[in-house]
Amino acid sequence: MFLQGYLPSILEGAALTLEVAAASLVVSVVLGLIGAMFKMAHSRALVWSAELYSTVVRGVPDLVWMFLLFFGGQMLINDIAERFGLGAPEINPMIAGVLTIGFIFGAYMTETFRGAIMSVPKGQMEAGAAYGMSPLRVFFRITAPQMVRFALPSFSNNWLVLVKSTALVSVIGLNDMMYKADTAKSITQEPFTVYMVVAAIYLLITTVSIVALNALNKRYSTGVRESEL
């Protein structure tokens, strides 16, 4: 039997990997939008804090962030719990992993969205304001739909890198694909086959993502004339 019947277990892990990736993407998009708004704010403090966030996060490896936030966060929570005389709660590794990856890629998304928002002609937003829309409404009705086209190429790239970073979450105890592969490796004694299957699944996720994002890109570029050389 192929991999002594360990394939379903690896596929289960793949489902968790996808869940982590999708949830982290949501966190990173929210943080990225907030970061982009901070960067374009008039307040120096906001601009500076967003700058610090996007620079520092991108200068430190994701593995180090994972250790720092997971082990550090656990200790912080223990300390706080102790101060209030409570038992120490265990951090859920799923939440920790998602928040960490979301936090890291929020920094990349900040740059993506900042560039995209700046590419939307200013007159569009001004026209929205002239119609009496609130700033938030201008953002969701006018800016957001138009910035998608500019954000997509860099967004796609971030997503592809994010998916690959999920391979690290097993170090903080998540039962993702890499974790299941590790178990399967020790029992089947077929490490090459096991990790080739994992690689193939990652490649499949990448390929499907590229196809889907290209289709999305086409849809959002409807009516935009491409420059031909």
């Binding site: 200068g59 593995l63 180090v64 962030w65 999920t166 690689a199 490649l203």
Partner: protein, 243 residues
């Protein structure tokens, strides 16, 4: 909360010292990280120039083969690539009995191999992209001077493509610096590996991982700065006019 003294006390461990040992008595920590980075970048760059040329070849079979290589290596996590080499290859008796096994059973060489193949894939695409970007006028001029195809490649196309590749390559170097942090997951004591060792000895998470983070951050800034200088030197002719 964060003990600055502990951070300072631990610092020698990142430079190959610690617990009574002199700094740099081993290559643990920073030296190993930089070593892995330097050798893999060097090997990757050396591979990527011929591969980049093959990638733009008119022969579909040649360019397709290189595309497949870069697609697979760019589409899977480097950690999986490292595990395939480090754990995976031992599955085959032929590998275990070959001369290469002396190297392949060592985490250090496996990490170097995985990192080199990975960065070569990304760099190949960067260089191929820039070769395609060569202005047709430069090619025509080279042909008009009577240069052979290889002379033109060597003197005109490749040097100019490498210059234009600098900004994208600087990104790749920073990504690789951070990528080397997974070396610790195959028992190596790079910067992240040392931080983990200190953590498991002291159970203090903030000090070692913050220190590791600061080291990576400092080198990220250093590399970005060096590449800025290099761009000023070699890409000045492409900069926008200043007056």
């Amino acid at each position: 909360m964060i003990d600055a003294n502990l951070m300072i006390e631990n610092f020698p461990s990142f430079l190959g010292g610690g617990s009574g040992q002199a700094v740099l008595s081993t290559s643990d920590g920073l030296i190993l990280t930089l070593e892995l980075l330097f050798y893999s970048l060097l090997g990757g760059l050396a591979l990527s120039i011929p591969l980049g040329l093959m990638r733009v070849s008119r022969n579909r079979l040649v360019s397709g083969a290189v595309w497949l290589y870069t697609y697979v290596f760019r589409g899977t996590p480097m950690l999986v690539q490292l595990f395939i080499i480090y754990y995976g290859l031992s599955q085959f008796e032929a590998v275990r009995e070959s001369w290469a096994w002396t190297y392949l059973q060592e985490a250090y060489f496996c990490a170097l191999l995985a990192f080199t193949l990975n960065t070569a894939a990304y760099t190949t695409e960067i260089i191929a992209g820039q070769i395609r970007n060569t202005h047709w006028g430069e090619i025509e001029a080279a042909k008009a001077m009577g240069m052979s195809k290889w002379l033109m490649m060597r003197r005109i196309v490749i040097p100019a493509a490498l210059r234009r590749a600098l900004p994208a390559y600087s990104n790749e170097v920073v990504m690789m610096l951070q990528g080397t942090s997974i070396a610790g997951l195959v028992t190596l004591a790079d910067v992240t590996g040392v931080a983990r060792r200190i953590y498991s000895d002291t159970y203090m998470p903030f000090e070692p991982f913050l220190m590791a983070g600061l080291i990576y951050l400092a080198f990220t800034f250093l590399f970005v700065w060096l590449f800025k200088l290099a761009e000023k030197r070699w890409l000045a002719y492409l900069a926008p006019r200043k007056h």
